[in-house]
């Protein structure tokens, strides 16, 4: 009997140890990677300006980029609206009640959102083709046309996060306990 019992007990012990190890451990099948090797994908810009790239652009340069890349085909001449969103214009947020047009000037709370979205998603048919200078230039063009910055102010990693967005304070957090 003891011949049988001892290995059984030993085996039970091994199983117990094994499952305890499983519960407390993890497969660890991810490969370590450096932030430097993620850089090509790390395009997110935060509201405080974190991760804005080097570079610079002005409204005059942006007007040319806007035309050269066919932005007007969807957003209309001067960005005043077409088959896609109005980029330049400041209609009151109560113009059409709760269905009012939300624009950069009347709604968007952070200037960094404009840079982040253009760089990640525009132009729609050929995203990720603009240089960082060109993205800064388009931002400058749109902010100037919306009278959010003077016409000659260059946008760069220092100036862009400081652009004052008129609607910034008009948001209510819906579920504060979930943050």
């Amino acid at each position: 009997m003891s011949m049988v019992k001892l290995p059984t007990l030993a085996l039970l012990g091994a199983i117990t140890t094994g499952s305890a190890a499983l519960a407390g451990d993890s497969p660890h099948l991810g490969k370590p990677i450096s932030e430097a090797d993620i850089k090509a994908w790390d395009i997110s810009v935060l509201p405080d300006g974190t991760n804005l790239p080097p570079g610079s652009g002005t409204a005059a340069q942006g007007a040319k980029v806007f035309g050269d890349h066919g932005c007007n085909q969807c957003h209309g001449d001067g960005g005043k609206g077409g088959s896609s969103n109005m980029l330049v214009g400041n209609p009151p947020l109560t113009k059409d009640g709760i269905a009012s047009n939300k624009t950069i000037a009347n709604f968007w709370a952070y200037p960094t959102t404009v840079f982040d979205y253009i760089r990640r998603a525009m132009p729609w048919p050929t995203p990720h083709t603009l240089t960082d200078d060109e993205v800064y230039a388009i931002c400058a063009y749109l902010f100037a046309a919306n009278e959010l910055i003077p016409p000659d102010e260059a946008m760069n990693a220092q100036t862009l996060p400081k652009v004052k967005m008129p609607n910034h304070d008009n948001f209510i957090i819906k579920f504060p306990d979930r943050i």
Binding site: G30, E35, D42, L93, I98, A99, K174
Partner: protein
Amino acid sequence: MRKRRSGAPPLEPVAGNGLLHRRALLRSGAMFAGALGSGASLTGAAAEPLTEPEWSQYPGEVTPPLQKPSRFEASVVRTLSNPKGEPRTQHARTPLQMLNGTITPNSLHFTILHSGIPDIDPAQHRFVIHGIVKQPLEFTVDALMRYPMVTRKHFVECGGNSAPMFSPEPIQAPLQALHGLVSCAEWTGVPLSTLLDEAGADPKAAWMLAEGADSLAVSRSVPMKKAYDDAIVALYQNGERLMPGNGYPMRLVLPGYEGNMNTKFLRRIKVVDQPAMTYYESRNYSPLLPDGNAYKFYFVCEVKSFITQPSFGTSLKAPGFYEISGIAYSGTGRITKVMVSADGGKSWAEAAVEGPVSPQAFTRFTMPWRWDGQPAVLTSRAWDDSGAVQPLRADFVALRGQANKVPNVLGFPNQHYNSLTAWGVESSGEIKHVYG
């Protein structure tokens, strides 16, 4: 054998316009048929003598490797907002009025693609976790397939689903057009908490950014609270690998949170100390309020229900028995009760709820109904175990407002509608969409 309990359910209506006790059919059998006042059938006409149909006379078709529904079900398809793939978002809405149960078949699960469906080779797909972590990690699909997985049944709903309900007048359109941007599936995948722990995410970091491998790199900020609570990196949908339009080869599933946050084609999570205020969270899913202010971080798809059958587009052929059937679900918990009314909310009766009921999942409710051929207004209202109640339309509109004019049925005049839906049954049997 079902044990017969004492006290049979009442056969008399339990609420106005012919609603019967929710267990009346299950427990009263022949007595119920008698109470309907109809012998063999509702029409009284006897059945014709049987003959052998054509398909019973010779062997059928060869079995295909991948099944398709019967050709007689060809109308059960999603409706498309952008069938030619013009340079804008494509929506495909689920035909909820033609389905039953609580699981949406994968081929009919709703999808929204902002720049088409990327054709992702799973062997080359990479998913990274980085940011405020001890060690950034890269995962392949093969690696994730080896992890312990969980399987959870959850609805996914577009934050803009039911937007036509913001119309000042009821839009005459099928359920699919009004509420078709919600579906429910069984998702299988790796708990995100396991992967965040492996990377050594800083427990003090409040947010993470999730990003897809689509051409727009659709990106959303997610509270780490949710990431650690019940987030899944899903690889399977109803037992098979994700559909391309639903995020193949992997997607984030955030139970109960608006669809756009459930990042498809998941390729990157960055742990951060502040929300990124991406385009979608800053603009689209920040609903405008009547005073010009707006909500932000409106993550949760709140408690909601609607009747799927009968509904707009169907027509009742004759007075008599019908089963009212519908779906209830809540982003804040488990459905505990659904009330149904056949008189536009004057009187209510509790519907039968099919169990087991899962949190943040479709729950099917049914209610026996004897239609007397007179006008009726069918509607439903749901409760969940967090105490949340589906708001009445008057209360909802008082808080959230409605559009000034009737919008395009495909438009999004606002987001996050979870009030009631009512179907007006006319004496002809036709059913219209009404505000009850």
